[in-house]
Symmetry: C2
Subunit: 126 residues, 2 copies
């Protein structure tokens, strides 16, 4: 059983890197527990575990920015997942950006280099 091969951490979680199919852009980073991964595989849509809210996070449930799963990879130590997804709506980040990694180190500072594509208020208050 694929769930049993995974080295879950002390909290029963595994880190998940989310990459966009085609572009190869790293969209975001999240965590899954056993149930989240099981649901992700069954639905072919990303379901994460929200550590801050301590509950399942059905990505895109509110925003519509669902991630359709194309491929799931596990690393050499069985303790990190790589999810290859199709990102609906072209926005993965809760700030309204394409991806979460929009802060670039320039000299001694983090500079936001990618634009906000949609006002988060419009994403979450529909």
């Amino acid at each position: 059983m694929f769930l049993d091969s995974i080295s879950w951490n002390e909290q029963g979680l595994i880190p998940v890197i989310v990459q966009e199919e085609g572009t190869g852009i790293v969209l975001m980073f999240a965590w899954m527990n056993r149930e989240a991964l099981q649901l992700t595989v069954e639905r072919r849509q990303a379901v994460y575990w929200s550590r801050s809210r301590q509950k399942l996070w059905f990505k895109g449930e509110e925003s519509g920015h669902v991630q359709k799963v194309q491929d799931i990879r596990l690393d050499c130590d069985n303790d990190v997942l790589l999810l290859i997804v199709e990102q609906l709506g072209g926005i993965a980040c809760h700030t309204g950006r394409y991806h979460c990694f929009f802060q670039k180190l320039e000299h001694d500072q983090w500079v936001a280099v990618d634009p906000v594509l949609k006002d988060p208020k419009l994403i979450y208050n529909q």
Copy 2:
């Protein structure tokens, strides 16, 4: 100061996604502490924190598979890094593979789908 902007976890660490420049391939996943990130920025070569060995890990020190850092990104929550690197030797994984994410979920099983390019014995016993 860029180190102070980071939300280090309870262990003083931050997760790091390592992506190859050009190909966009996600090579590996690791952790950094404050000193590791400082050294990475100064040397423009990846230095991680090994949680298993509890010491700094100068990537490529033994294998020669050094990662030259082209770009460093921070996510929206200031708690995940994305490193864009040039991978010397074309092997990022300690198993002798191009990248660490070589296990693919097929039906109900993880299947190793990427080849070993070099025997790990030859990588680490030079």
